[in-house]
């Protein structure tokens, strides 16, 4: 049963996910993936974490222009409506 995708819960799952993936330094909405040293393979895995938790599927097209953590959070919340 996918969890409820509120902004707070999505933010928490994504922040935790990024830390699990080895994000370097402070993780915030404003952080860019480049700052966090998170690469495309890490983002594939983050997409799977999001899918497992919220049932929201992110395809290549969706994520390729995303640069900031906040953009992913907003996209997941929007998609889950």
């Amino acid at each position: 049963m996918p969890a409820q995708a509120t902004t707070e819960s999505v933010e928490q799952v994504i922040f935790d996910g990024l830390k699990e993936l080895g994000a370097e330094g402070e993780v915030s909405r404003e952080s860019t993936f480049e700052d966090l040293d998170v690469d495309s393979l890490d983002l594939v895995e983050l997409a799977q974490i999001i899918e497992d938790e919220f049932g929201v599927e992110l395809q290549g097209e969706d994520v390729k222009d995303l640069r900031k953590v906040g953009q992913v959070i907003d996209l997941v919340v929007a998609r889950s409506q």
């Binding site: 393979l41 594939v44 895995e45 997409a47 799977q48 974490i49 899918e51 497992d52």
Partner: protein, 241 residues
């Protein structure tokens, strides 16, 4: 053994069936995927069951993108995460290039190459999360070698080898390996009618058996093969040497 199962596409008979049996012997629960040969697939599952392993025959035409999603859902529900995938489903539709029809070209590319891509795509994300995965693509010596009358088959198998290498390097750092096995002449339904003339060109002077290919699949799927990735293991009795 990591917690999960193996999926072999097109494993109602031939190399697929032998691979399923070998993986079951190695301790994997195995999903026996088939397109239309239900009796064959059930037979393989029964043989595995009798030997004390876990297996289930699951129908899906892997050329259909929606069917691939359904197949994985069914397997995951039955056996848990798919940690080993053997892309074995394959066909041939021979003809010389000037006379090969669009349909023959597309069907072979679709079954042998595109289906393998779609199955692999679906399998990879859970493997990345599990930090363990084994993708084994059944290619052929035809592809790297020429074989008149098989331009479509050769293209699909050479393509599969290229695909293997690139995907391997994309996911290597997560403990997921992607390799190909390239059989030479093996006596299965796929090679019925292939001339005896070929056997004279094989240094081993005989075709291989499906079991001889399956033992290589089993090795590549094993924990022990953790540093082997992006390679094509040729199993052809010396034909390509």
């Amino acid at each position: 053994m990591p917690e999960g199962c193996a999926l072999v596409t097109g494993s109602a008979r031939g190399i697929g069936a032998a691979s399923a049996l070998a993986l079951a012997e190695a301790g994997w629960p195995v999903a026996i995927n088939y397109r239309s040969d239900a009796a064959g697939a059930e037979g393989v599952a029964a043989a595995i069951g009798e030997a004390g392993g876990g297996a289930a025959a699951i129908q899906a035409d892997v050329r259909d993108p929606d069917a691939v999603g359904e197949l994985f859902r069914a397997v995951e529900e039955r056996f848990g995460p798919v940690l080993v995938v053997v892309n074995n489903a394959g066909m041939r539709a021979d003809g010389l290039a000037p006379q090969l029809g669009d349909d023959e070209w597309e069907r072979v590319l679709d079954t042998n190459l595109s289906a393998a891509f779609r199955v692999t795509r679906r399998a990879l994300k859970p493997m990345l999360r599990a930090r363990f995965g084994r993708v084994v693509n059944i290619a052929s010596v035809v592809g790297p070698r020429a074989n008149a009358g098989q331009a479509n088959y050769a293209a699909s198998k050479a393509g599969l080898i290229g695909f293997t290498k690139t995907v391997a390097v994309e996911v290597a750092r997560r403990g997921v390996t992607v390799n190909a096995v390239a059989p030479g002449l093996v006596e299965t339904q796929l090679t019925e009618g292939v001339g005896n003339g070929l056997v004279d060109a094989i240094p081993a002077r005989r075709p291989g058996t499906p079991e001889e290919i399956a033992s290589c699949v089993r090795f590549l799927a094993s924990k022990e093969a953790s540093y082997v990735t992006g390679i094509t293991l040729t199993v052809d009795g010396g034909l390509s040497a």
